[in-house]
Amino acid sequence: MNPVKDLIKTLADEHGRSRENLLPILQGVVEKEKYLTEYSMVEIARELDLPAAEVFGTATFYSFLEHKKMGQYVIRICKTITCAMKGKNQVLLAIQDMLKIGIGETTPDGKFSLLETNCLGWCHKAPAMLVNDDVHTELTPESIREILSSYMKK
């Protein structure tokens, strides 16, 4: 059996197979696989007996349910007002300089993807970013190097 198919079965066993279980299952796949493929969406549709288009329509509504290839660590840097005021652009440049990728891109080794996101709720400690589910705040071009290095070593 395909590991993604197994994963979806396990998730459906855990959460249930009703429509209201769709989001947790999509989230579960993204947590493991980092993004949703055509294949995984079809399998979810099959498992939950939903139209595939509905799964696609729902998934694309949520910005954390990526359906384009993502790296092992997805960096989401906040671009909303306070972070923008507090030097998000410099931090972003530092990230781009270090990883040699632009927004929406993934490093060739598949380790990092870089995305911008809306307010993360850390305005008092701006600028902030998420790396997968980890929060990093009060970023500076200096601190970002340290943070990314630690992920590189993981």
Binding site: R19, E20, L23, P24, L26, Y62, S63, I81, T117, W122
Partner: protein, 395 residues
């Protein structure tokens, strides 16, 4: 003109860690639902998410519904730019929220609660789950049937809108529903639902513990009690503060400004921008109906000093709305695009300054015709920024 009648007053209820929730819960559950509703009504607590609907009335309406299945939902989809108080409540005093949910269950006749937690706060889950487990264990011990599950969001601001949140929980796109019907009668899974903001629930804990008077005595007429404020931007002391409602913006700025405050955004991107010349006359609170000098808020206070370009601020907000609009209704979906592209075109000189007036009218139309609160409130920040900082939009 309403003069500011209150000085800035700090309060300390929400984060006071008293470790007595078991006692509060079992004691409160002894009261009749009717008594608890009355208690809430006389406290005059209004929703702390921003819309300001009377909490007691909400619970009352739901309690009157006949349905066998009802739900209690805690809205922790805190996404308004400049707001971060709910995260802090769930981190520091989760049991207050859980207790309030259970009491609400008792009042309306529901055995099931959900916390809709925004995806950005996923790191909270392990601790929150632990707290829930402990809480449920206690409920079982005292023979009260109530369970709570966490439902994770996945990065969609609009899901903070209550009916969009239901859609999301039902596994669909988070598109707001038509209202009426209202959630108190037809909510999650088409059952009567009370949905409250995290902070609102935390305040009910205070009310149930100390009685409504203690809460009512804070604040001013129409705006009773205290409120958490998320302070950010150009301030030497960003953070979360519990203050009594009814303060003047001037007092707020004196306390939190950096001496050069040019404007304050009250209520996040969907709120209003108040320029310096109006700090004195603006109070923070609900005053019956919104009058323009009395601003309700979910608690986001963003300060801007004179180094900030208000064009950039507005540009940032509109970019936000442009992406976070669910896209279903035309005034909001297309309106946001037009506002965003419109101010850029004026700035670049492709459209004349008069085009701003057309956009102001458009923002009015959006306020009047959009399907939900998001589309209706885009015009708030747009008009308040464009009207007060017109030059900055053009030059």
């Amino acid at each position: 003109m309403v003069a500011a009648t209150y000085q800035l007053k700090r309060a300390d209820f929400i984060f006071k860690n008293e470790n007595d929730w078991e006692k509060v819960l079992s004691k409160t559950l002894e009261s009749e639902p009717r008594e608890l509703i009355n208690e809430l009504m006389s406290s005059e607590l209004k929703g702390r998410g921003g819309a300001g609907f009377p909490t007691g009335l909400k619970w009352k309406l739901s309690s009157e519904e006949k349905s066998k299945t009802k739900y209690v939902i805690c809205n922790a989809d805190e996404g308004e730019p400049g707001t971060f108080k709910d995260r802090e409540i769930l981190t520091k005093v989760p049991y207050k929220v859980l207790t309030a949910m259970a009491v609400c269950g008792h009042v309306i006749g529901s055995g099931k609660g959900y916390i809709y937690l925004r995806g950005e706060y996923k790191f909270l889950v392990p601790d929150l789950e632990k707290a829930i487990k402990e809480f449920e264990y206690y409920c079982k011990e005292i023979g009260f049937k109530f369970t709570i599950d966490i439902f994770m969001g996945s990065g969609a601001y609009i899901c903070g809108e209550e009916t969009a949140l239901f859609e999301s929980m039902e596994g669909k796109r988070g598109e707001p529903r038509n209202k009426p019907p209202f959630p108190t009668s037809i909510g999650y899974m088409n059952e009567p639902t009370v949905i409250n903001n995290v902070e609102t629930l935390a305040h009910t804990y205070t009310i149930f513990k100390y009685g409504s008077k203690k809460f009512y005595d804070l604040g001013v007429q129409y705006s009773r009690g205290s409120k958490l404020f998320s302070v950010s931007g150009d301030t030497p002391k960003p953070g979360i503060y519990e203050l009594e409602l009814g303060m003047s913006l001037q007092d707020f700025v004196s306390e939190f400004g950096d001496g050069d405050t040019k404007a304050v955004q009250v209520g996040g991107a969907s709120g209003f921008l108040v320029p310096r010349k109006r700090f004195e006359e603006t109070t923070i609170g609900f005053q019956g109906k919104l009058t323009g000098i009395s601003l309700p808020t979910g608690g986001s206070m963003m300060l801007f000093n004179s180094s900030r370009s208000m064009f950039n601020v507005l540009d940032n907000y509109l970019d936000f709305f442009n992406e976070e609009s669910c896209g279903q209704c035309s005034p909001c979906r297309v309106g946001c695009q037009q506002l965003l592209k419109g101010i850029k075109a004026v700035k670049r000189g492709e459209k004349t300054a008069l085009y701003l007036d057309k956009l102001l009218k458009l923002s009015e139309t959006m306020q009047m015709t959009a399907k939900c609160g998001l589309g209706q409130s885009v015009g708030n920040s747009f008009s308040s920024i464009v009207e007060n900082f017109r030059e900055e939009m053009i030059y």
